[in-house]
Symmetry: C2
């Protein structure tokens, strides 16, 4: 555990990095961001993104981030080493490795880039839903810690607690930080992982499951994130296929006024019995 | 250029690897798989996947592959080094780096895993379309070499040649190798990149554009790929948002009898003028 007293938002504790003098940095797991086993995958993604973002020769803003979850991170200190792979005129490629006692727990690749004033359009259609207060807060049967940092309103696809299997894996939530916190790229990287495993819905119960690899594309620039502030965002996810112990999850994150902030996909390991 | 006479399918030339005695391997660009600049991104993905697949201690089948395209590969020899990050009980994490004269051109992360007999279901719905011969062969305004290896029948979203902008970036194709070749994991990894840039449709013309990072989830096991053989597969793709010089592409690849073989996403750099 990190020494000294902590103040501020738990997410800022998650992305509180201590640089090692080179390109690497140490972090500490934050109890409030714990998951079933190890920390919330979104917290790991946020931390890695923050370490790259803090590099002095970083160019532009996050465009793409892939994080693989090779093994659970144990409570305590971990280390992230980042490598600048290549700098092009308008974008930059990075890789990162998260280790703990010499064991690799996660790897990542990231693309950062300059956003330019070119023809732009949003082709996806934001789900038509009501205002956040008109939906009930989510209740989480599993009681994992990290969900305590989010106010989640369930429009579709509430987490099941021994219910009949649902025909669809679709979940749509309004979600914001609780306590309130502004949206920035690390917060958005974490929110991309806010959905519980889609297989729970389809089986009507929780089973062992965990993200193996997650890729997030950041469509919004920093100014768009700033305009979101601490408002609710709309998060919607579903699976396309469950087969052989792996399913995908494809998701969108929208601002309240219809900006597609990010699209994100992950592949998830699952079992069908406890 | 590689010495000696080449026989067989051009895709087998693409994935013809020469091991360096360790975990690395050399490959050679194949003229038939050239793109506008450098080789077809799908060829690079296929090669990297094949190198990992050939490792003696590889566990299981491809589950996920992310390839980043940091810089164009020049014609000729290149080298791929792979690293085994971690072996778990049912899956394995790999990273790979493609270099040419010491410069990194691509990086990759891959997850391989055992497929198990668990509850399975396909939730996505295959587009309802007619038989392949009822659709016209694609004509490619850009005349890039790699498309000569595919028989593409256009259901929706033909590549535009100075036409009015289309309201949708959706393309749906029947596609098979021409000359015929069986489907395997490297072939599927390549097919995941068969779509031309979605921005061409929306602008009604071609503009500079290139994949920055591509992630493919392999839902099918080897037996399902084998059953496809050299038949047509249905490939459908669209963008969700174009903004600031980057757009995403989300796509599905289906067997003719309705098996969702793979889902794939990429983030693509674009300009809006030549």
């Amino acid at each position: 555990m990190r020494t000294g007293q902590r103040t501020g938002h738990p997410l800022d504790a998650v992305i509180d990095i201590q640089f090692d003098g080179g390109r690497g940095a140490s972090g500490w797991t934050v109890p409030e961001y714990g998951n079933m086993v190890g920390p919330f995958g979104g917290a790991t993604a946020a931390f890695i993104l923050r370490v790259i973002d803090a590099q002095a020769d970083r160019l532009g803003e996050p465009v793409a981030l892939t994080v693989t979850y090779a093994a659970p991170i144990a409570d305590g200190e971990f280390h992230v080493d980042v490598e600048l792979v290549r700098t092009n005129r308008t974008n930059q490629h990075w890789t990162a490795t998260l280790t703990q006692d010499g064991d690799v727990k996660s790897t990542a690749t990231a693309v950062f880039g300059l956003r330019r004033g070119v023809w732009s359009d949003t082709e996806a259609v934001m789900p038509a839903v009501g205002e956040p207060p008109s939906y009930p807060p989510a209740t989480w049967p599993l009681g994992v810690a990290f969900l305590g940092n989010y106010d989640v309103r369930v429009i579709d696809g509430a987490p099941p607690e021994d219910e009949p299997p649902a025909p669809s894996s679709l979940s749509t939530f309004w979600v914001r930080h609780d306590p309130a916190r502004r949206l920035d790229f690390p917060a958005l990287a974490a929110l991309a992982d806010i959905f519980y495993p889609r297989v729970f819905l389809r089986l009507g119960r929780s089973v062992p499951a965990g993200t193996v690899s997650m890729t997030t594309y950041f469509h919004a620039g920093a100014a768009e994130l700033e305009r979101v502030g601490d408002a609710y965002i709309l998060a919607t996810a579903r699976a396309q296929r469950f087969a052989g112990g792996y399913f995908d999850q494809t998701a969108q994150l929208w601002s309240r006024d219809g900006v597609l902030l990010a699209t994100t996909n992950q592949i998830v390991y699952y079992k069908d019995s406890r």
